[in-house]
Symmetry: C2
Subunit: 548 residues, 2 copies
């Protein structure tokens, strides 16, 4: 630990030192911090082991379930972290890590993060955050304007008003979505006559008062799993989240949506909210937001847009029209830790109307007193860090046109990759990129042809074999450690909506080059040959179909 | 921004640079980071302005609600952050900042935080966190053992089991409490016969199936406001959170608790959970946990302990008996960002039974697949950062005996301060410290005497005047910027449960000295004299009471 003796020991004086004396310039921790600050990519390439160690093996290093009775020196422990943790962590910022929504970070955010953490503000209240409170309100205002584009008057009226809130910062999209639906539920079941509102009397009383037999939130079958969680926690039950079918482009069918709403109403179930998705997690598709908005007005539903992924597209004047209609949403989720390139833990929910959040407002005695500007009176979370500072800094340093370049580059890279996949004989593009996501699979031309002409039974059988191959390739590629794509299951209409495993690619890292994309395909092609039995079976099945 | 030209401009090449080239050693950002790393306290003393600027003034710097169209140089923006944000932030680690639960951090956590942020893992799934997943499970296991002390066999069976979970990491105590009550609600309204469980069918169906007229969670009137939020979001309604009266020491009255439960049951309201508080936010009091546990067994209630603050006391073999009974809880909330000295954003909820969380388990296609060890299948939040690494490191470097010293020192400091206050003629200790929190107020001996003998009407009047003075002193002291205590409202039985404003003090910063405590009182005494009219009124009222 802190003392320099051979055996670490604990005294109150030595403890005080860790609060007052920083690590010296020669300490392991300082050196590692420096190396990583100078060239993160190189540092991680050197320290993360290339070939994946099985999780079972890694777990052995994390098996001891007691808090140590003996302190460790900072340097010793840092070395231990390097050997056991960092070496088996995931290089999420690698240009060839294109499987998930976690990407590279701008360098300046790392020292800024350290400053943010050292300041250790708590944004739940002004007394522990002071200037961070107006800063967070401003960031919410900026993103509100990005979505809703109200005039100066609007923002000077509401942005810093104690009684109002343009949204809430939160740890991520899940909390943002829950918050939006919480607000929507409470507004749908508000006080009326003697009934004091669902927030006071609860859901059972509310249902009896309003005479509903159930509540529903509608979203396309491609909606994020957090919405199911929201439906559970808010008391609607997972069945209260009604999945609406999508078209061939993974977008909600407005007609099916309308029909479902009418059906629900007939059964005396209140459809209080519809969620439009702007950038589905699996395919990056964008629902027809304008049409959803119309339906919501017609049926008096809260219109929420889950733009956790796609929201940042609004930064690009070239592509923001893809999200047309979002400005009609009552609430919008945006994750800054996705395409705004902020470290993990920066979600936001925005509300069109500055008084929408009144339905979830709460107060306490020692903080959040009536009339105070404490942010905590309108957040689901309590204590929160000063992450807003990182979003603020990134928006000033990168600026809107900078983000535009990043967004445009990602979308264009996805188009390039889609084109590249289509040119290959042995790959199939399963979902076209709308944003910078696409899905595809490895399937030799002969096999694809067989699948096309196969009878239903045969098709299911052959498709299952191809799924097996997809899973094999994806796992093997991940374990080899050179590049990473994720996988998911889709039901493409082109293949009779059969369960289809696909490679899923997210192209948000500005450092991912065209060459990397070419080599990802090349590697997958080679891996496919490493399952000779499965390949032989697939080819034989295909042949028997073609020859029949 | 990133280019070195006089006018910052944006090109894709310049953007790539911010992802690949760190700030140089001479940049403002690097220099600030260095200064702050070398001596945080001095840095903040130099940069945070001494006298508080009114919030209205600060807001002027954060009034612009548009995302900038022009990029800024990193150095320029850093200077801007220093001038407008850091200078008006709160020095939460100052030894004289004793008003809230945010304290100093050990130095080694700052570089470690930077490493954690640079790695940018996402703990929702193994594919973006690998070794961080077993690490987080181990940290949960360690804290589980601290509370429940199960044997090695237990932890080797469950700690890394894909189908089980000893708890969940989360952004803070609020999410931890909501998670605990969510689990409790779902277990209380589980599937039975044709009913598929509240998580599937929702609360309305559940109530009809079970035939309840309402649901309730019971907690003492000193329970944290997050519980009210939980009751709202979970659909019980705030009225479903039933406040039970406390004794003179701010602890729940077990008899009153039993009575309330019986009453609720008579009205066909299901009391599915009781929350015991181990360290109330306002006074640091600990409920009689053993007695609550018995009552919970008798009435088949989930027993949750909110030990967000007090849980760390278990680290001390000298004081852990204060929390006796916590090992009987079904679930426990602990915040590592409180008395475990971790930066903001490290909450945890632990469950005694490894399968308790099954009732909130959820899956998706692209992650959290059945049988996977992805942590996200048992968390309320989705994407999350690798904060667990900081808890892990702190537990190894400080160790249990180190935490014991810190906890003991805080409790003993509070005893010292309580003693010091009691010795003063013009101060009154309102709540004795059980942990390291206490409350008191400034009230000259004559005034206190008058209050004692006053008739009810007079007492209310005089007490209100004293409240006014308390508020004045607290605000003034905060604005002067030398030291900070918070304030809250209690209803002490000693004063007929009158609304009583008090100074609230949290003594968790190991750097807070006895001298600082002496000077806090001295400063308050002086400030009191700066309200001569109010003081005169108080004295005159007292005199008229005494002379009557």
């Amino acid at each position: 630990m802190i003392t320099k003796h051979k055996t670490a020991n604990v005294s109150f004086e030595s403890l005080l030192r860790i609060f007052t004396v920083p690590e010296g310039p020669d300490s392991t921790l300082t050196k590692i911090e420096e190396k990583l600050s100078q060239n993160l990519n190189q540092f991680l390439r050197e320290h993360i082991v290339a070939e994946e160690k099985p999780l079972k093996e890694i777990e052995k290093d994390f098996a001891f379930a007691s808090i140590p009775e003996k302190p460790e020196f900072v340097s010793d422990h840092t070395q231990h972290l390097l050997d056991t943790l960092v070496s088996h962590s995931v290089h999420t910022s690698a240009p060839s890590f294109i499987g998930h929504m976690t990407s590279a970070l701008p360098y300046f955010l790392m020292p800024l993060s350290k400053i943010m953490i050292a300041l250790n503000q708590n944004l739940v209240k002004i007394e522990t955050s002071k200037a961070f409170t107006p800063l967070e309100r401003q960031v919410l205002g900026m993103l509100h304007r990005l979505v809703y584009n109200q005039d100066d008057h609007f923002y000077s009226n509401w942005m810093h008003s104690a009684q109002h809130s343009l949204g809430a910062f939160c740890s991520g999209g899940t909390i943002a979505n829950i918050t939006a639906l919480w607000v929507a539920r409470n507004n749908a079941l508000k006080a009326q006559g003697k009934f004091q509102g669902v927030e006071k009397e609860g859901l059972y009383s509310a249902m009896k008062h309003y005479g509903y037999q159930g509540l529903a939130v509608l979203v396309s079958e491609r909606g994020h799993y957090s919405l199911k969680k929201s439906a559970d926690i808010l008391g609607l039950g997972q069945q209260g989240l009604v999945a609406v079918k999508t078209d061939a482009n993974n977008r909600i069918c407005p007609q099916a949506l309308s029909q479902k709403i009418v059906e629900l109403k007939k059964n005396n179930i209140k459809p209080f909210a519809v969620v439009g998705v702007a950038g589905t997690t699996e395919t990056g598709s964008i629902d027809p937001l304008c049409q959803i908005a119309e339906i919501c007005i017609e049926h008096d539903c809260h219109f929420h847009v889950d733009a956790a992924w796609g929201g940042a597209t609004l930064m690009s004047n070239n592509y923001r029209q893809l999200l047309k209609g979002i400005e009609q949403a009552d609430s919008v989720t945006i994750d800054a830790h996705k395409q705004l390139y902020i470290p993990m833990g920066a979600g936001m929910v925005l509300f069109k109307h500055p008084d929408a959040m009144k339905s979830i407002e709460h107060h306490a005695q020692y903080i959040l007193r009536m009339g105070s500007k404490d942010l905590g009176s309108h957040t689901l979370e309590g204590s929160r860090s000063g992450m807003a500072m990182l979003v603020y800094a990134a928006m000033h340093i990168i600026s809107r046109p900078g983000y535009e370049l990043l967004i445009d580059a990602s979308i264009e890279k996805a188009k390039f990759f889609a084109e590249l996949i289509s040119q290959q004989d042995d790959f199939e593009l399963v979902s076209e990129p709308e944003l910078c996501l696409l899905t595809y699979r490895y399937i030799p031309a002969k096999v694809r042809k067989a699948l096309e002409i196969a009878l239903p039974e045969q098709r299911i059988q052959l498709n299952e074999l191809v799924n097996e191959l997809t899973q094999f390739i994806q796992k093997c590629q991940r374990e080899t450690g050179k590049s990473f794509v994720s996988r998911t299951r889709l039901n493409p209409s082109r293949w009779d909506r059969l369960n289809t495993l696909v490679f899923r690619v997210v192209l948000a890292n500005p450092l991912t080059s065209h060459d990397i994309l070419r080599s990802v395909l090349e590697e997958q092609r080679i891996i496919a040959q490493q399952a000779p039995n499965l390949m032989a079976k697939i080819l034989a099945t295909s042949q028997s179909i073609t020859e029949a």
